[in-house]
């Protein structure tokens, strides 16, 4: 396996004014679109199927297959919705991509909309990133001015409008059905499935929801072909992927590499562990993916490899923690996040995160007991797979994996408590 960077999605990022139309057009920009408009929509769906492209939003669902679920000739409007909510802790790839190369996303949107016969596309961007939203809006304006958007795009007879919509700061609105509700102006809470967005999505019409990175991959596939795409990555997880590395490394940032790269290789690219302090634990794809440890340095980071090792590829948000970090403390912080972000719709996640947070906070204050550890695990068991959406499942990942690999750290907190209580007891007795 190569440990070389393969700049595909990131290849223009360092060019001067990379976000402008001029730079983009000079560097192959909108070439994929011209090619795509010459093809039949169904040919494009087949092409993306053949490329093996899988969703980059976390779940890894085959993209071409998702598009093919859109009913054709149903007389309803079709919609493409881009998930640019990027809320998974540690994830930092979609926003840099939209900052550095917004036109590549727009080009992907136009090709995808053409393929699924949509004439309206919404890009739902995390509300906090104002600068990015402005840049994206400016790019959309440029695209309209150049005839890449609007009526009769490049004389093809195909029309498309793109709207950039700012979210209001809720992690749950990255979940695709909550996103759709939010986009419709409702309270962002996940919808009951079925019906799935492919048949009843935005305004109850057939809708494709895809991640920014997924859709940005499309123009490259159109230009390079499916074989070229498959030459990168693995059989079941082909293509390049942006790994966002954060934490205790020398050079945190976005590293684009073929799927299947290992942390060991990534660490090399990122200059190794910061100040040489050894690695203790890390997430392969955000906090919702169970923790890995130094044992997992050679696990191939593709969908299959991460799963086989007991975690998930998630958003390839690699958060790296060195030995100075207490696992219970980190787990407590993550759990506070999930408690704060739980949408409240279902009992297990709403009440469970509330409870877990308090137990962990108490343990970190040194007031835990060994029974708390068993309770944590049992509460997690009552949340995992019982919640309405995957947020609840993700919420228990840090806890169960943290206890699995670092139970001794949790126990140590409890022992200290037991000693303290004993001392307090003795102090009380002598008073």
């Amino acid at each position: 396996m190569s440990n070389e960077l393969v700049p595909v999605l990131t290849k223009r990022w360092l060019s001067p004014n990379s976000w402008t139309m001029d730079t983009y057009e000079q560097l192959e920009g909108y070439q994929g679109l011209r090619k795509a408009l010459g093809a039949q929509p169904d040919q494009l769906i087949e092409l993306v199927k053949a490329s093996g492209l899988r969703g980059r939003g976390g779940a890894g669902f085959p993209t071409g297959l998702k598009w093919s679920f859109i009913p054709q000739g149903d007389g309803k409007p079709h919609y493409l919705v881009i998930n640019a909510d990027e809320g998974e802790p540690g994830t930092c790839k979609d926003i840099p991509l939209m900052m550095a190369d917004p036109h590549s996303l727009i080009e992907g949107c136009i090709i995808t909309s053409y393929a699924i016969r949509a004439n309206f596309c919404a890009i739902y961007v995390r509300g906090e990133v104002l600068h990015c939203i402005r840049r994206l809006n400016a790019a959309v304006q440029e695209a309209y001015a150049k005839g890449y958007l609007g009526k009769n795009i490049l004389g093809s007879g195909f029309d498309l409008d793109i709207v950039v919509h700012a979210g209001a700061g809720a992690y749950i609105c990255g979940e695709e059905t909550a996103l759709l509700d939010s986009l419709e102006g409702r309270r962002g809470q996940p919808r009951l499935k079925p019906p799935f967005p492919a048949t009843s999505g935005l305004y109850a019409s057939p809708t494709v929801v895809n991640n920014v990175e997924t859709i940005t991959s499309v123009p490259y596939i159109v230009l390079g072909g499916s074989d070229w795409f498959r030459a990168m990555g693995t059989e079941k997880s082909p293509g390049p992927k942006i790994y966002s590395i954060s934490g205790h490394v020398e050079k945190p940032g976005q590293y684009e590499a073929p799927l299947g790269i290992t942390l060991r290789e990534l660490l090399e690219m990122a200059g190794g562990m910061k100040d040489g302090i050894p690695l203790k634990f890390w997430t392969p794809g955000g906090s919702s993916t169970p923790l890995f440890t130094a044992e997992h340095l050679d696990v191939p980071l593709d969908f299959e490899g991460a799963a086989a090792a007991g975690s998930m590829l998630g958003t390839t948000a690699v958060q790296v923690f060195n030995e100075t970090v207490s696992v219970p403390w980190a787990v407590m912080k993550w759990t506070e996040f999930y408690k704060h972000e739980s949408c409240g719709k279902c009992t297990p996640c709403r009440e469970g995160t509330y409870w877990l947070t308090q137990i962990l906070q108490r343990m970190c204050k040194g007031e835990g007991t060994a029974a708390d550890i068993e309770n944590l695990l049992d509460i997690c068991d009552n949340i995992l797979g019982r919640s309405f959406c995957a947020l609840g499942d993700g919420a228990v990942s840090p806890i169960t994996s943290g206890i699995k690999y670092f139970r001794h750290e949790f126990l140590a907190l409890c022992e200290k408590n037991a000693e303290d209580s004993y001392e307090a007891f003795l102090a009380g007795a002598s008073a």
Partner: protein, 816 residues
């Protein structure tokens, strides 16, 4: 193959059904059925909170998790049985056979309780609480939760009658889904998120729901409580009696809970054909009027010396009444005004009393604006209405198109409104409202307004948009007429014609609960019981035979109607009146009624409470309230709605009993000693199969046209208003829609009141002053609520729907 398997293959799966296994038992279920219901039919109750059969599934509480296997492959996670539909070959294991499901359910239950205050001992729901019951059945005996519970200030008043305790709320969203889906009201909403998620009032939208009480009933915990019932009793101390609502012609099934002779609350009962599981807030909360201080408890007679009413014994009062009526009968005759709120049994007693004891057809139950055309319509079209042949709630729900004329369903027939809304949501019905402005009901039924001048409705039927005409020709289309049809000349006739032309079914939905019963009982000047024309000798002979009268005893000529009776009294041609529960202010011409009552006529009044009539009566006979007697309403569908006595042992007498005894004093036998006897006596008459009263044939009237000096008045009642049957319930009154006068901006400009906050609508009789609100009324039309101001439209203006009125800026700035 095993024997058992052999046997199993015998199960026949009808078309549109699937076969699945639940806890090892094979079961056939209709496609699309939710698993939780299939299990329930098998006798396995899966615990639940958010699930409600009449609401769309939410899957929010996660209490109903079960294990499911499809095509031999177990689904990776336990599934919510309230959101999963049955499928062929599905294998389901509930808590009874699956440890996984059992643990999942126990886990959810524990989580639901960690933040619950567990204040059952002071909670209204205690004893009938799904959370309490299911926690006892499926929960842990102790809690592992030792942390800090989430607290909220409590309670908060969602409205004057609904109080919310957010700590008890399990966030099942039943209340919000009810408001959104069933009622369509911006009432309550989910706010905030995570463990701070809570129910709250909708932002920027004022509370406005006539159905809010249903949320209290379907709340699976004590989070929503009623201001009226809060802390009043424990459910297990109450006696629950089935009852029927007396407030409109809907006939909703209710349940009345009471103890120690007092009603503590009223709830919706389940009747899928009529009200499903919902009632309006008036039906739920308006029951205190029977215990107001002015309730009549003893008979009264006017003292010969003082001229004042004084208490009297039943014996004396009945004797004085009988003597006075006998005299009046001889001195010119007695008219009978039973009122529109009676049961069939009571109405029948009035009808028979008029004919047998008073020898007259001068009887008219219609204590509201009415017309001769209407009388012909009631005889020809309404009498004999029944759910087998007529329009039903179900028909309204399934109709491809419904045209409402002169009927404001949410205000005048709330149950019908809910069905219209359901029909539109579930089946995409088209609803057309012929009226004057885009009322909330137009919006919430997703309907289309066909605007016209008040009084122009009949004429408009001849000029319907072609789309409407076309839709009415579809099979099962429905046309509905309301109470104020009687104020619109030619409407009954043209509506009948339209129905005949298009094939649409036609129904009349009056406002009051007793209307159809009174028609059936013959409490009208032209009709004997069963719609038998009084002028028809065969019909009369039938009645005479059944009543044991000599042939030729029954009066042969049509009697006087309401206006005729009052007119005849006023000018001395009638010498006596027997009046049931009638409020002078409800009558089309209250002034005439007052003049008549003050004319020295001998008045016997049968009433519940003191009123403008009892105060003028010579004899007042107190009668039983609805909860103190048995009886039968007939709702607008013609469906019989029998109910038993709720509060037993009050010794209060129903009208039919009082009249029976009074008749005996006058040497006549009614055989209506009890409601059962009255019903049996009516039953002996059997169905009328002979001639009916001919249908009306009146040309569409010319409406009053607005001019420079006059506007045209549109008016109808709001559901919650100053009606005396809502007395004594301030919490309900607090939810009334504000009383405002409505007119368009252009009309306001034309009358020079565009900048006025308060406007005065007047006639030469008087005026009503109200806050003005702009709405899309036709030019020159002003709308007033009929009875939402101290000065009612009838009393103050002496006018009704379609009358000419003046519109001016209020003189002194005070609303009247």
């Amino acid at each position: 193959m095993t024997l058992a398997a052999d046997k199993n293959t015998d199960i026949v799966v009808p078309d549109g059904h699937v076969k699945l296994t639940i806890d090892g038992a094979e079961v056939v279920a209709p496609k699309g059925e939710l698993l939780i219901r299939t299990a329930e039919r098998l006798g396995t109750v899966i615990p639940r909170f958010c699930d409600h059969p009449l609401l769309e599934p939410a899957g929010a509480c996660r209490q109903c998790l079960v294990e499911v296997e499809m095509g031999g492959r177990p689904m990776p996670k336990p599934q919510a049985s309230c959101t999963l539909t049955v499928a062929d070959g599905m294998v389901v294991k509930t808590q009874l056979t699956s440890p996984v499901a059992d643990k999942a359910q126990a886990g959810v239950m524990e989580l639901l309780l960690i933040n619950h205050p567990l204040d059952c001992p002071i909670c209204d729901k205690g004893g009938e609480c799904p959370l309490q019951n299911q926690a006892l059945k499926h929960g842990r005996t102790d809690s592992r939760f030792t942390e800090t519970k989430r607290t909220f200030p409590k309670p908060i008043a969602v409205s004057s009658q609904v109080l919310l305790d957010r700590e008890r709320c399990v966030l099942c969203q039943r209340c919000t889904r009810f408001s959104e889906q069933i009622a369509g009201d911006p009432f309550i909403e989910l706010l905030e998120r995570g463990s701070q998620q809570q129910i709250g009032t909708a932002q920027d939208q004022p509370f406005q729901s006539y159905f809010s009480g249903n949320t209290i009933q379907i709340c699976p915990v004590g989070a929503l409580t009623s201001a009226a019932y809060r802390f009043r009793s424990r459910p297990f101390d109450l006696v629950s009696t089935p009852s029927v609502c007396e407030h409109c012609a809907g006939g909703c099934a209710t349940r009345t809970d009471w103890r120690r002779g007092k009603i503590t609350r009223r709830l919706a009962a389940e009747d899928p054909q009529v009200n499903e599981e919902w009632i309006c807030d008036k039906g739920r909360f308006a029951f205190t009027y029977t215990t107001e201080p002015d309730r009549l408890l003893r008979p009264r007679v006017r003292d010969a010396k003082t001229g004042e009413l004084r208490d009297a014994s039943w014996t004396e009062a009945l004797r004085v009444a009988a003597e006075g009526l006998t005299k009046a009968k001889e001195a010119g005759g007695v008219g009978v005004l039973p009122g529109g709120r009676l049961t069939v049994e009571d109405a029948y007693a009035y009808s028979k009393f008029a004919r047998v004891a008073l020898g007259t057809n001068d009887i008219d139950y219609r204590n509201r604006p009415s017309s001769a055309e209407e009388l012909a319509f009631l005889g020809s079209t309404v009498s004999g209405t029944n759910p087998e042949h007529g329009v039903t709630y179900g028909d309204i729900e399934k109709a491809p198109a419904v045209l409402l004329i002169a009927l404001e369903p949410e205000e005048e027939a709330p149950g019908v409104f809910l069905r219209l809304r359901k029909g539109n949501r579930k089946h995409g019905n088209r609803v057309f409202h012929m009226g004057q402005w885009t009322t909330p009901a137009v919006v919430k039924t997703n309907g289309t307004l066909i605007p016209c001048l008040p009084g122009e409705e009949a004429d408009m039927l001849g000029r319907l948009p072609s789309e409407v005409d076309e839709l009415l020709r579809r099979p099962d289309a429905v046309i509905l007429l309301g109470e104020r049809a009687a104020e619109i000349t030619g409407l009954f006739s043209t509506a009948r014609e339209l129905a005949a032309q298009t094939g649409a079914k036609l129904a009349w939905i009056p406002r009051r609960a007793g209307e159809l019963a009174a028609i059936e009982a013959g409490a009208l000047p032209t009709m004997l019981p069963g719609g038998r024309p009084v002028t028809d000798s065969v019909a009369r002979a039938e009645v005479e035979l059944a009543w044991g009268l000599e042939t030729g005893t029954l009066p042969t000529a049509e009697g006087r109607d309401l206006a005729g009776i009052l007119g005849a009294v006023a000018n001395g041609r009638l010498a006596g009146l027997v009046i049931g529960s009638v409020d002078v202010h409800d009558l089309p011409n209250p002034e005439l009624a007052e003049r008549a009552l003050d004319s020295g006529v001998f008045v016997v009044s049968l009433d519940l409470r003191e009123s403008s009539v009892t105060r003028r009566a010579d004899v007042v006979l107190p009668v039983a309230a609805i909860s103190e007697k048995a009886g039968t309403y007939i709702n607008w569908e013609g469906r019989r709605r029998p109910f038993p006595v709720v509060i037993t042992g009050t010794n209060r007498l129903p009208d039919c009993r009082v009249l029976d005894t009074l008749a005996v004093e006058m040497d006549a036998d009614l055989f209506t000693q009890t409601p059962a006897a009255a019903m049996a006596d009516l039953g002996r008459l059997g169905h009328h199969t002979g001639n009916r009263i001919p249908a009306p044939s009146v040309d569409a009237g010319r409406p009053n046209r607005p001019g420079q000096r006059h506007a045209v008045l549109a008016t109808w009642h709001q559901l919650i208003d100053h009606g005396s049957m809502q007395d004594g319930e301030p919490h309900l009154a607090g939810t009334a829609r504000p009383a405002v006068a409505r007119l368009s901006v252009d009309t306001a400009k034309a009358f020079g009141v565009a900048d006025a906050a308060l406007i005065t609508v007047g006639t030469d009789r008087g005026s009503v002053t109200l806050l003005a609100e702009f709405a899309d009324l036709p030019e020159g039309v002003v709308w007033l609520p009929s009875n939402s101001t101290p000065a009612t439209v009838r009393t103050s203006l002496g006018a009704g729907h379609g009358a000419l009125v003046t519109v001016t800026t209020a003189a002194n700035g005070a609303a009247s």
